[in-house]
Subunit: 415 residues, 2 copies
């Protein structure tokens, strides 16, 4: 195996092959739930180096685990415990290759951090809409591998919809050049979409052409209390009919989720009088005319409070308040980590069946393990819910780890 390591070092340079203790940060996932081992952590700096590494590993039959910002919550970027795999970190490939404000595209290396794509777009007076809690660390390659959604998916879609072209290194080292900037590309089969969402199993994404959008200069944000998922869905229907494409975020959280965030995340404060059974953080955005936009959201709130659908609500009066509302939603992962180890489920259900799903899941897990604490939140408009379970208070760690798989398998099928 030292032969392989020597050859890897010949490709990427000795200081870009990491061995021993220094590997640790690459081998543990963000939640600390998964820990692996690796033959070597390899940090290529170019497509050619990735290609040579892949060809070498194919020749030696060495497994490769690609990794971007290592912010995965499901162990997708963590190697197994055999220590046989090469951990391929794309973090050094962090170049914004080009920004085209006429064609509204940005071309980037896979290792560019999402927040840096935001900055590059913004410098060209354009907007890249993918936004999620880990955006300061996660990379475009990981966003593509996971087909990330994030908080603006309701309006802009997932990474698949935000991508025009890809550059991928296949397992034998060949480079698949699909780095097109065409808005409509009907030549041949849509192989691009096979790589997006394939979690690195079909190849290593090394570059991408992404879509840019006009900058949304006006925002209106509200934090409102509702009874449950079904009330939130009814509200969504009303806001969507009234706001149309302006509705860019509609984030649902149960009261238990909010309580957990307020407990653990510093600087968060409930913008309502009392802890509600559930809440929605919603945002409208537009290219201009913030006054009209806020007025529009105010009207919707007034009429839905009137009708009893919304129990209470707060409208952000400025950017600072809006950020404070968002800090609640963005604090959820941190709050979960601080509270303990959650059984995590990222669930997609047809929107109309979300209420039934939550009711069935809650009943099922609580019957199976009394005291278990569902922490439920997510991008409601997409039918995408994070259905997490925390152990009953006081349950010991060993027992909880043993219970988790059975609880996960209880997930109801709702169509």
């Amino acid at each position: 195996m030292s032969d392989v390591i020597a050859q890897l070092a010949a490709i990427v340079g000795e200081h870009n092959v990491i061995l021993g203790e220094e590997q640790t940060p690459f081998l543990t996932d963000w939640l600390g739930k998964y820990r692996g081992r690796a033959l070597a952590v390899v940090r290529p700096g170019s497509v050619d180096e990735v290609s040579a590494v892949m060809a070498l590993c194919a020749e030696w039959n060495v497994p490769v685990v690609p990794q971007g910002g290592n912010t995965s919550l499901s162990g997708g970027a963590t190697p197994d415990r055999t220590g046989e795999a090469v951990l391929l970190s794309l973090a050094r490939m962090n170049r914004v290759r080009a920004v085209d404000p006429v064609g509204n595209t940005i071309t980037v290396d896979a290792g560019v951090v999402l927040a840096n794509v935001h900055t590059a777009a913004s410098t060209a007076d354009r907007f890249f809409p993918l936004s999620l809690g880990a955006e300061g660390s996660c990379t475009i390659g990981g966003n593509l591998a996971a087909n990330a959604g994030g908080v603006a998916v309701l309006r802009y879609g997932t990474m698949r919809e935000l991508t025009l072209g890809l550059e991928v290194v296949l397992s034998d080292g060949r480079v698949w050049d699909g780095l097109t900037a065409l808005r409509k590309d009907n030549t041949g089969y849509a192989l691009r979409d096979l790589f997006i969402g394939s979690e690195g199993t079909l190849g290593v994404i090394t570059g991408a052409v992404l879509k840019l959008f006009p900058v949304p200069r006006a925002r209106a944000t509200a934090f409102v209390a509702v009874q449950d998922v079904n009330a939130a869905l009814a509200l969504l229907s009303i806001v969507r009919a009234r706001g149309g494409d302006r509705l860019t975020a509609f984030e649902f959280m149960t009261g238990d989720t909010i309580a957990l965030i307020l407990k653990h995340v510093s600087g968060t404060r409930l913008p309502l009088e009392t802890l509600p059974p559930a809440a929605v953080l919603m945002e409208l955005s537009d290219t201009d005319d913030e006054v009209a936009l806020i007025g529009r959201l105010e009207e919707v709130l007034a009429s839905t409070i009137e009708s009893g659908l919304v129990l209470d609500g707060a409208l952000a009066q400025d950017g600072t308040q809006s950020k404070a509302f968002w800090r609640i939603r963005e604090g959820v992962s941190e709050a979960l980590v601080r509270e303990g180890m959650a059984a995590k489920h990222d669930v997609s259900v047809p929107t109309a069946a979300l209420g039934a799903f939550v009711a069935l899941a809650d009943a099922g897990v609580k019957a199976a393990l009394p005291g278990v604490r569902p922490i439920v939140f997510g991008h409601l408009g997409d039918g995408n819910l994070h259905y997490n379970l925390l152990p009953p208070v006081g349950l010991d760690q060993g027992r909880w780890t043993a219970e988790m798989p059975a609880l996960t398998r209880l997930g109801p099928v709702v169509t």
Copy 2:
């Protein structure tokens, strides 16, 4: 072969197997450019029948050409001249299976005519955005097979972006059930996207779940004169920054294209004083407040006329005028058919390179065949242009047919 025909009849019923002269409408493409022959035209009425037909044809090694509304302009739905293929018409599978206004989805048979999807959506107070000239005849299956774009692709994307799930019968008769209504479906590989745009080569699409949107109740439409493609692109950038998502159509036409339409399509009238070198039909739409929307478009027009970018412009004062503007754009296919046989090219180029493409292509074809008439129009915001060539006036048909392939091969490569 009569065995095959008998077995086909046993599957779909004798009156749904068409032989002899009655096949003619199925065997000629819409432009009359392609003519084929078929063993039989078969009209299944259900997924099971499609499945049985495909299995039978696989067994007998009989080629199958799927056909929807037979509005293809490129011969994609016309069998070859051998007469060996079965022409599989999906036209009888024309059922809207379900409309879900909460989940914002519609589930349809592949043979449903696009305009009927519009109607079904509209009945549920929702909107399905794919819109193109042939919408009264073309079917969803064909729209999917071609990954159709249409006039609203700038805002809503192509059929790929408008589709959640598919049902496909594979070549051996197996049914691939991907009829999911999930907004975010990251389970497994995105096989769905392989079928979309595959022109029927990977299977026969029999059903689809499509996305619905809030109804755009307000529209503002303008028809404006510009110098050329580059001026149109500069205008697009301004309108997009100001209008954001409201910009739903931005259709470019050269002056020659407009002249051809005015000549051939009854009821069309130029809304400008003089025939411009080029024009753009643009439309903003919104969920409400038409007065504000029209005001916004008026401002953009005033400032761009002031700056000299827009040479002249007309703003629709009501729905009737807006329809009259659209009638010009929608008349282009009819005008082309009436004028003669065009060499047609549906071209995608990175948006920023469109001006260079048109200049190079015009120069190339005119040098190769003096008097040749480029008829250029398309969805500029998507980098998608229809670059058609009409023969020099007076050139005989045989010579034109002989010249066409060489002209097509002149297409410049611009990146």
